[in-house]
């Protein structure tokens, strides 16, 4: 009951005129970011973070989270019209979305995509409203060992669920941890890994890494592929919208399944991209028209879009309640919290009620606003994509540089951004996943602190991580997640035998 009262307080905060304006601006910027190649949710939010420095934390998080919703919506536009996924999580949307556009059903595909995104997000927000306060309350009892357990679980799930070879994920993640360790050690106050360079005193900021790895790296990839945009027309009118809406309830089962997949993949840090693929794959297998998938089936748009948006939204649940972000973009939002002087974690629900519930309320409203904005402005956003790459690329580079500079007002960071960009380009081409590296840079210090405090309490014994039921089960879950590919392999091998 208390949560409902809090949520209404949150709505009261959100409907203030300034916050509403910030919301619409955020959504518009987000869709533009989602549409443009080279700019994505994570680095887009990172670049625009300095714009929020002079705002109150609540307005700031509303703006940034709305940029995120906008980016989630925007990815679908380019997938359907141009067959170019603006975001990795909308790759699966191209499979059926683009064939529909080629058949002149672009309006139908876009309406289905946007509406499914909305449904997925709404499902995840309701889940966050109900579950997040409980998780936070529960997590308030956590000691250092349990905290480390949660980090351990998050990172193990990354290794176990990654599509890339596990040791590439490990290498990428550990490099992130090493970069996080550079600079002042928070426990002993000692300098480490700086090798006498004063620039390294403050360590590597993950925002720089995000802008470089995802922003600059992405531009280098796009230019190498020699992007040319050949798009279908972006006609969308009320008649098509209502016709599609009348048709969509038929796919309620696909929707519901995709919502659940999305929420699960979003909370465990697998993220929106695998969620969209998994949801598409399952829908194809289960659907009566599975054989028609890939040739312009509405269901093939509904499944990945619902799951991607549900996952993208659900990624905020662990970020808000535990301080462990479920995706790189959630990590950037968490970085924003630190900059605005808030301490992420379960205490947020106790000490910053207005902030937390303002954010949750803005998720409801932001997605409604987002749906209206994208449905009405599709031609406008599609026009942005027709701006030639040789104009848009340097402008994106300039914004990346500004974003990197403003993090610490340091030109050294701009240099680091470029270095991260080149590293990101090479690693991406060699199939090293970048998200674990970013999350390790964000969480490295906190995970290490929890680990060392636990060891201090136990005088060095690793037994503390299995000292009570709670921490043991978290650690056990982590180990299961880590070895999941081996376990599921063994299970599928066992099955035929039991059938005999």
């Amino acid at each position: 009951m208390e949560e409902i009262v809090n949520l209404f307080h949150g709505f009261a905060v959100v409907v203030q005129p300034f916050n509403l304006m910030v919301m619409v601006v955020g959504i518009m910027l987000g869709v533009i970011i989602g549409v443009l190649p080279g700019l994505g949710g994570a680095n887009g939010v990172a670049i625009l973070l300095p714009l929020t420095f002079s705002m109150s934390p609540t307005s700031a998080i509303i703006m940034l989270s709305c940029i995120y919703w906008g980016a989630l919506f925007g990815g679908a536009i380019t997938s359907v019209l141009f067959n170019i996924p603006g975001e990795p999580w909308s790759v699966a949307t191209t499979f059926d979305g683009h064939p529909m556009a080629q058949q002149g059903r672009a309006g139908e595909a876009l309406t289905a995509a946007f509406t499914s995104s909305f449904v997925g997000a709404l499902f995840a927000v309701i889940m966050i409203t109900l579950v997040a306060p409980l998780v936070a309350k529960f997590a308030l009892q956590f000691g250092p060992a349990e905290k480390f357990g949660v980090y351990f679980l998050a990172f193990c799930s990354f290794i176990g669920m990654s599509k890339e070879p596990p040791f590439k994920t490990v290498a990428s993640m550990m490099i992130g941890f090493a970069l996080a360790a550079v600079g002042l050690d928070s426990i002993t106050g000692q300098l480490r890994l700086t090798f006498g360079y004063t620039e390294l005193l403050t360590g590597f900021d993950f925002l720089i890494a995000v802008i470089g790895l995802f922003g600059i790296g992405e531009i280098l990839l796009s230019i190498e592929e020699g992007l040319t945009f050949k798009g279908g027309s972006a006609g969308i009118n009320p008649k098509v919208v209502f016709q599609t809406w009348a048709e969509l309830p038929r796919y309620w089962m696909t929707s519901l399944r995709s919502c659940v997949i999305g929420c699960w993949m979003g909370i465990s840090p697998a993220g929106a991209t695998p969620a969209s693929f998994m949801s598409y794959g399952i829908a194809k297998r289960v659907s009566k028209h599975g054989d028609r998938f890939g040739r312009g089936e509405v269901e093939g748009v509904v499944a990945p879009e619902t799951a991607a948006h549900a996952a993208g939204t659900a990624a905020l649940l662990p970020m808000l309640s535990l301080g462990v972000p479920g995706s790189p973009t959630a990590a950037v939002l968490l970085g924003g919290l630190l900059i605005w002087g808030l301490q992420p974690g379960p205490l947020l629900f106790v000490e910053q009620k207005e902030f937390v519930w303002g954010l949750i309320a803005s998720m409801y409203l932001g997605n409604v606003v987002g749906l209206l904005v994208v449905l009405t402005c599709v031609p406008l956003f599609a026009a942005i994509l027709r701006i030639p790459f040789s104009i848009i690329a340097p402008i994106i580079l300039v914004f990346c540089a500004i974003g990197a500079y403003t993090v610490h007002n340091s030109t050294f960071d701009v240099v680091m951004m470029l270095v991260f960009g080149v590293v990101g380009y090479i690693l991406k081409k060699c199939n090293y996943p970048l998200a674990p590296m970013v999350l390790a840079i964000v969480l490295g210090d906190k995970a290490e602190e929890a680990f060392r405090q636990s060891l201090l309490a136990s005088q060095g014994g690793l037994g503390i991580f299995f000292s009570n039921g709670l921490v043991s089960s978290i650690m056990a879950l982590g180990l299961i997640a880590l070895f999941w590919p081996l376990i599921s392999n063994a299970l599928t091998r066992l099955k035929p035998r039991t059938a005999l």
Partner: protein, 168 residues
Amino acid sequence: MTDDSHGLRGAGPTQRSVEIGVTVAMAVFSLIVVAGSLKAGIGWGAEGPQAGFVPFYVGLMILGSSIINFGALVVERPDAQLFAEWGQLGKVMSVLVPTSIYVALVPWIGIYVASALLIAVFMRWLGRYGWGLVAAISIGVPLVTFVVFEKWFLVPLPKGPIEAYLGF
């Protein structure tokens, strides 16, 4: 049959050789981390594990996984899959070189003038646009940025002699 790296698709470094290079680079990086950790101390101190304790093992894990990744590459049969063609890498360099110069110029001439130059170079050199459009966009974008950041959101960005001359 498989050796078509000099055939229709054009030449370039193979995926395998680049990936081997990456694993070697990671191993070198891990040794730097291990060396730095040893210097910070990896034992047990007054506040529990010393500052280098965690990074030391992190370094070892990077080393271990890069050796495994290296091994996997060496065992695998060499194929002719390219990392990228030289022409594609040339395109990448055509973005990377101006951007590097841009980043180097920012501390000296400020971000606004440098940005104008970067956009102008891109549009003129890669896009071959007319001077009118080049001037409009390369001056317009930094100007709008200036108003949004310095005036509207009060976030100062690096400025150089030209801005100083104009009194900002």
